[in-house]
Symmetry: C2
Subunit: 301 residues, 2 copies
């Protein structure tokens, strides 16, 4: 699982900071999460192939999370893309993108499929044989969802020496990986746990931005491998959280602790601060494994 931060700053793009966008590489997918102005340039800067992006997830319709989307959709067209593009985001997104395509008299030459979200409950919005994506309803000034990306349980691993010794036909290897007991060439039933090992643990990633501190999300992200939680402010500006529906670094860390995640990545920093180390130190008072997002930074898990 590899996460590339294209932008992790709030409000407006600047010469040295980008608004929210990130790419999650998981089970051979490249999921683009949020798409602030300038995202297509950051994709190029980070050498991410446009053609590998097939699913885009938009948390909410504030500009710093999606003003780069229409440009990316248009650029895909200019690059003569033919592959389907699926966009998941709040109701209204389809209207705003298609209106702009209509005004420019240039429809896409690839299938552009919108999955508009309106539910206030968590939903399964994407699934294949390797991953699932669920929404995480968040509490912000407008309708907002975070997204939980979960690898499905991996297959059991063959203990190849044990398998050979047990005289099992190769035709049964698939069943073994799926956890079944099998009959060997001598007609003896071989218990699965005798010839296989536990699978490598499945990983998961929860993206939660923008949101006020909200313990309702804890059950949804329980035991997640990595949690990205916004931390727009430091303790000294906590008074701004309720009005703007944002969180502090400490609040993000409390959520991480309650959800028992392995690692917390902080981001969506307000540009009022000069450095971000204080975000880490305030969060570490509540939760140990705190990482800081940074434009252009890659995390591998």
């Amino acid at each position: 699982m590899k996460l590339t931060i294209l932008g992790c700053h709030s409000a407006t793009p600047r010469t040295n900071t980008n608004p929210t966008s990130q790419v999650l590489e998981i089970k051979n997918h490249m999921f683009l999460i949020d798409c602030g102005e300038g995202t297509q340039v950051e994709l190029r800067r980070n050498k991410i192939k446009f053609s590998r992006i097939k699913h885009i997830f938009i948390s909410h319709l504030h500009g710093d999370h999606y003003f780069g989307l229409v440009g990316l959709v248009s650029t895909f067209r200019l690059l003569t893309r033919e592959t389907e593009l699926h966009i998941y985001g709040p109701k209204g997104l389809k209207e705003v993108i298609t209106l702009q395509l209509k005004l420019s008299d240039s429809w896409t030459n690839y299938p552009l499929i919108f999955h508009e979200l309106t539910s206030k409950d968590s939903e399964l919005i994407y699934e294949d044989n390797k991953v699932e994506v669920h929404t995480i309803p968040l509490h912000h000034r407008v309708y907002t969802n975070g997204f939980l990306f979960k690898e499905k349980e991996n297959e059991r691993k063959l203990d190849i020496n044990a398998v050979l010794n047990a005289n099992i036909n190769m035709a049964y290897y698939r069943k073994l990986k799926q956890g079944a007991d099998v009959e060997n060439d001598d007609g003896i039933i071989i218990k699965n746990e005798m010839v296989t090992k536990d699978p490598s643990p499945s990983q998961s990633y929860a993206f939660c931005s923008d949101t006020v501190y909200d313990e309702n999300i804890v059950p949804l992200i329980k035991n997640t491998t990595v949690l990205y939680h916004e931390s727009t402010f430091l303790d000294k500006n906590e008074d701004l959280c309720e009005r703007t529906k944002h969180s502090t670094a400490r609040q993000a860390a409390i959520i991480a602790k309650k959800a028992n995640v392995d690692a917390l990545i902080l981001g969506h920093f307000s540009t009022r601060y000069n450095g971000y180390e204080e975000f880490r130190s305030e969060a570490k008072e509540e939760f140990d494994n705190v990482l800081l997002a940074e434009d252009g930074k890659t995390f591998e898990f």
Copy 2:
């Protein structure tokens, strides 16, 4: 008259090239012309104060000319702007900007005034006591206008020694500057041309992008000081001009020559080319004073 090129490349923003946007400083105005994605960052990079921009002119609704506008409008709001903002552009622009504001539940706290254009004839769209702005109907794939910015005729200059010798009361200086004859303190009529000099010549700037080669614009831009004319292609790709409704460098230069302008600036280069010197050399075969636009470059006239 000072022109700052924020972006002068066609189609898509890239790590080293920006789509169309420029700022014309004329008679204390800062006119923003077109606003491709990333324009607000380029304004910051070029240290142009956001508060000085009160009028934005959008040529047409292709993304490389206006996808940065909604972000700029939103950033003005976040910066608690109170001054009026006037936006001139094709019909449809108001709908697309206000839809995005509505979806983000964040109206502007400053007056945002749209002047939607639909005429196929040249129109006077802005006027004060120092400048006029006229549309230049262009011929592109969608409804498009160029813009002609004209200083009004400057006042005559006082020949101060002659004025003093002629014994003229200071109260008449204003009338002299406006070209009138006046009576001096001895009751004698003083002919204006005896005590004043010709005004400094008025300057003008014509922005023409995007457009196919079109001689119909020549009368509208006749004797303009500076013409910015798109030149997306070189001679060798002239065949693409008719289909895409763009021009070559040579065609831009022929327009400059026919319109008898002082200087021609070429821009809106296709990213298919590596360098741009060939644009200059091909254009110079038709017209002498050819300049090349470049992101971040400033021209003073």
